[in-house]
Point group: C2
């Protein structure tokens, strides 16, 4: 099916308004001959006469009037489309499909939400919470635009903007002997029963690394699937754990009698960053988002390392 041109439709609409080829041409910023040819071509493609040409005046046939009405709709919709895209010109406007891992999402998002909403009211976030591995797959498949994940992690396929450092804190019951000390080391934890998240969660690996434990040395009995569960277990006296400061700041320990102590170790923190495909045209957006996150978290960016591996 051969379609008419938007230009032809526009010409028809103008002609229907002016009822005069000459003035219609003027209004459309073309010559009368162009207007004439345009209408003629339109009638040819449609196979029907839309305009009744009296020498003195131009009459629209009933069919022509129907076509004019529809043409107006089509033109309006097209203009709306252009307007929509134009409105999405600024940084961080439109839809952004953002992945986020569960050990960051609940603690980071509520913190930045108000600012994000205030500074970029045109932004619509579509959030997806999942493990890092799954997020990166979706990212590479184009189902996500960006993801907020924790480093170190192997992400050479993607660009990354690391914007925060998130130290680990040792969580222990109030009466625990280690509460006496202001600062704890990996050595202090050696003989404790440490509780970890389940396999496949990046935080588990990070904390294992921070605390100097190894897979083999764990008592396999206790594995939680969420930080909240973990906290409940520690509160119930099953052992100790480590939590990212971000989670503690967000009030994860509220209502419990648990204490926290900083950990002195080689890798006593995770880094938080934004990853996205190198080919994604919205780098400016991601820069702005990372900037906002950095400001909001108030933590200075640690000495930059271009690629961190776990």
């Amino acid at each position: 099916m051969r379609l008419p041109t938007l230009t032809q439709l526009r010409h028809l609409v103008i002609l229907a308004e002016t009822h005069h080829f000459g003035r219609a041409a003027e209004a459309a910023f073309v010559t009368q001959s162009t207007m004439s040819a345009s209408i003629k071509e339109l009638e040819l493609t449609l196979g029907q006469t839309l305009i009744e040409r009296t020498k003195r005046q131009v009459q629209i046939t009933p069919l022509g009037a129907e076509v004019v009405a529809r043409a107006k709709d089509i033109l309006n919709e097209t203009e709306d489309l252009v307007a929509l895209v134009s409105a999405a010109q600024g940084v961080l406007t439109g839809t952004l499909r953002l992945g986020i891992i569960p050990t960051i999402g609940p603690f980071l998002l509520p913190r930045i939400w108000p600012t994000l909403h205030r500074d970029y009211p045109g932004l619509k976030l579509e959030l997806q919470e999942d493990k890092t591995a799954r997020l990166l797959v979706d990212l590479s498949e184009g189902k996500l635009d960006a993801a907020l994940i924790a480093f170190p992690y192997e992400v050479d396929l993607f660009k990354q903007l690391v914007f925060a450092d998130d130290p680990f804190l040792v969580v222990l019951p109030k009466k625990h002997p280690l509460c006496e000390k202001e600062r704890l080391t990996a050595r202090d934890l050696k003989k404790e029963n440490l509780l970890f998240l389940d396999h496949g969660n990046c935080l588990r690996d990070h904390i294992l690394s921070a605390s100097g434990f190894h897979e083999g040395s764990l008592s396999q009995t206790m594995k939680a699937t969420s930080l909240l569960t973990l906290v409940q277990m520690v509160d119930a006296g099953f052992g100790l754990t480590l939590l990212p400061k971000m989670a503690v700041d967000a009030g994860l320990l509220r209502g419990t009698g648990l204490q926290v102590r900083p950990l002195e170790a080689a890798k006593s923190s995770r880094r938080i960053g934004l990853v996205f495909r190198r080919t994604n045209p919205r780098t400016e957006d991601f820069g702005a988002l990372a900037e906002l996150l950095r400001d909001e978290l108030g933590t200075p960016l640690p000495p930059s390392r271009k690629s961190e591996k776990s």
Copy 2:
């Protein structure tokens, strides 16, 4: 505001379906370079990137997806427009704005309606009932496509298709002396009190002419504005009148005690015809309509006179 091309939008939609420039090009029956250029041009006019080009695969940005959705709508509407016009291809389809005079309308339309509906289900009549003069003005101004009027009438501006002859019948009370005669002449009516429609109605002029009366010779006291009123007045004994056979056939005298007699006179009938602008492209439609009317009325067309004047 510069608008994108429908071709570009179509290419975008296809590309969004295939996620592959080469296959999209194939599906759009163009080369890959054309597809590439088309999308690029579209992005240029919109001022935003809609497609994220990975070397291995093509990703649609969220904004692009929105544009694709709207583009689909626009394309569908345009195709609907074409379909609409195509559907209006046959004779007597679509809207026809038809004027009709009050002394024809109520008697002719109910008669042809079923056939018209059966033979041309795609036809939508927009009827306007008015005096001949008014109809012709609207016709020349393009507010009507055609009009059904009675001849003789001066209509040289328009094309005309006369399709029926409608004789006048003398209407008189059952006990009237003239009922004795099988056929009446103008001479018989000379001394009778004839009742006519009001000024400005073409039937008045036609009947005046048929009955041999002149404006000056009338008793000005009785003037009706509709045929129904006229009949009521005759039934009440105020005098005689003449009615077109068409009206009598349609049952205008039903429920009255009135008789009819044929009139023998030079101009003892009016002719019924269709008029329309010479420039109107739907001559075929009008021919078909006149044909249908002629068949339906069962009256052979009188010897053709190209232009009848009153």
